[in-house]
Amino acid sequence: MNEPDCNPNQETFVINLGPQHPATHGVLRVKLTMDGEYIVHAEPVLGYIHRMHEKMGENRTWAQFLPNTARLDYLGALSYNHGYVQVVERAAGIEVPERAEYIRVITVELNRIASHLLWYGAFVLDLGGFTPLLYAFDDREHVLDLLESVTGARLTFCYFRFGGVYNDIDEPFITGTRAFIKRLRSRLPDYHNLVTKNIIMIKRLKEVGPISAEMCRRYGATGPVLRGSGVCYDVRKNEPYSVYPELDFDIPVYSECDSMARYMVRMDEIDQCLRIIEQALDKLPDGPVMAEKAPKIIKPPVGDYYGAVEAARGTFGIRVVSDGTNTPYRMKLRSPTFSNLSLFGEASRGMLLADALALMGSLDLVIPEIDR
C-alpha cells in the first residue's frame, strides 16, 4: 500500500473500507488514512458497479433506454423515469396530457416515500438499531404493493412513456393509496418516538458531520444534503416541472448542517409527500393518459437538451445530445449522489471513524447511481 501523504511525524495507517462492507450500502470503497480513531484523509474509490449506462445510451434507441433509467437509482426509479421522459419530451416537443402528469406525480411521490423509508431503516441499521428497519419495510411493502398494481414491478419500474404513462390508474389504487396515507400518518409518530427522540440517536447525530452551505455549493451537492444545510433548493419549487406548481407543499429546511438535520429533512419530506399525493388524488382530472400525437419512433431535432428533476437524493440532471436519428448521440447522466459523495473526503477529515459512517449514512448513497 502506498505511503499516505501526511505529516511524517504522525503515526498513521491506512484502512480499506469496502468494497464489500455493510455500511457502504453497496460496493463503495473508501481508502481511509487514520490516526488512531481519527480520519486524516478519506478517499472514496468508485467504479465497482460501473454499468456503462452512458455508453448504452448511445447504443440504444430513445425508447429502449427507458429501462436503464430505472436501474440507476433503483430506490427512486420513477423519478429517473420522469427525468428522462421529460427531457425527451422537451426535445421532441411532445405534450403530455394532464392526467398523465398527475399520475406521474402520485407515483413518483409514492416512490420517494418508499425510498426514504428504506433509507430510514438502513440508516438506523448503520447506527446499530435493527428494529426500525422492520417497521420501515412493513410500510414500504404497502407502497410497493400499490406501485406494483399499476406498474407491474416492485423496484425497477419502467412505467412512464414519452407522452404519458403506460397504464391508467384504477379505483382500487386510489382507495388503496388513501388508506396508505392514513396508515403512514398514524405510523410516523411511532417512527419519531422510536428513533428521532431516542437518546442514542440524538447523541450520535447531533453536531456530527457538519456540511456547510458553502461546501455544498462548491461540490454541487443537492437534495436533502443541501436542505439540511439551510439552503431551500428543490427543483420541484425552483424549477417547477410537471404539475408541481399546482400543488401546495413545503420544502423542509434545517439549518443545523449536521447529520440530524439531514435525517429530519427526509423525515419531514415523507410528510410532505403524503400531502402532495393527497392533493394530486383530489385534483386528478379525467382524460387520456397518453398523448394522442406521440410519435411511435422518436427522433428529436438536432441539438442538446437539459432536464432536471428532484429525485429522492437530489437533483437528477440529464443532458441529451441528439443528432436527429433514433439513437441519442450522447447521454450524460448527472446523478445527485455522485456530487453528494464527492464532499465526503473533505467533510470527514478529523472525524471519528464511527461518526464518519453516520455521515456517510446521512448522505443516502446508492452506489449504482454514482458509478452509472
Binding site: 468508485l46 452512458e54 461546501m215 454541487g220 431535432p301 442538446d304 437539459y306 443528432d323 436527429g324
Partner: protein, 176 residues
C-alpha cells in the same frame, strides 16, 4: 430572462467569449449558452463562483466529423443574439467538446451552459477544480470516458474504470 441571467451576461460580455446565446428555456432546458476558448474556462468558472452559482456537472462530447450533426451556421460572437442557434459552434474538424452545467441554488432560476471546443487530436484544457472542488471528480470521470486531459488537475487516475484502464469507452471510435 431573469435579472440574474442579465447580470451574468454582462459579466461574460466583459470576458469576450466566442459565443453567447440566449436560449429558449422551454425548448432547451437552460437559459444561457456560452462558448468560450480553452484559456477562458477557468475565468468563466471564477465568474460563476463569484456570482454564487454551483457546478452541476462536467462532461464531454466527442464530435467525430463524420458522425456529428450537420454543421449549423457559426454562431456570431456576443452582442446578445436573440434567435436560438442549434449546436453553437458546430464541428468543422474532429473536435471534443467539454460542457459545464452551472445552475443557481438561489430563488431565481438560471441555468447556464458553458462549452469549450478543443481539438480531438490533442484534447487538453485547464482544470476548474481549483475553483469548484466538485469539478475534481467530474473532470476525472470525463478523463476516464474521453481521455481529455485537464491541465493542473491534482489526480487524473481512473475514477469509474478499473485502476489500470487505458481505454476511453465513450469515444465514438472506441472498440473493445
Amino acid at each position: 430572462m431573469s435579472m440574474l441571467c442579465e447580470t451574468l451576461k454582462e459579466d461574460f460580455l466583459a470576458l469576450a467569449p466566442l459565443a453567447l446565446v440566449d436560449t429558449d428555456y422551454k425548448a432547451k432546458g437552460y437559459q444561457l449558452d456560452i462558448t468560450v476558448a480553452p484559456a477562458q474556462v477557468v475565468e468563466a468558472a471564477t465568474i460563476m463562483n463569484r456570482r454564487g452559482y454551483t457546478l452541476e456537472a462536467v462532461t464531454g462530447v466527442d464530435w467525430l466529423a463524420s458522425a456529428g450533426p450537420k454543421p449549423a451556421k457559426k454562431a456570431a460572437p456576443a452582442e446578445g443574439e436573440e434567435e436560438p442557434v442549434e449546436a453553437p459552434g458546430a464541428p468543422v474538424a474532429e473536435q471534443m467538446e467539454v460542457v459545464y452545467d452551472y445552475t443557481n441554488t438561489g430563488q431565481e432560476l438560471c441555468r447556464v451552459v458553458v462549452r469549450c471546443r478543443i481539438p480531438r487530436a490533442n484534447p487538453e484544457l485547464p482544470t476548474v477544480s481549483g475553483v469548484f472542488s466538485g469539478a475534481n471528480w467530474h473532470e476525472r470521470e470525463t478523463h476516464d470516458f474521453f481521455g481529455i486531459r485537464f491541465l493542473g488537475h491534482p489526480d487524473l487516475s481512473p475514477l469509474l474504470l478499473p485502476e489500470d484502464a487505458d481505454f476511453h469507452p465513450l469515444l465514438k471510435d472506441f472498440r473493445v
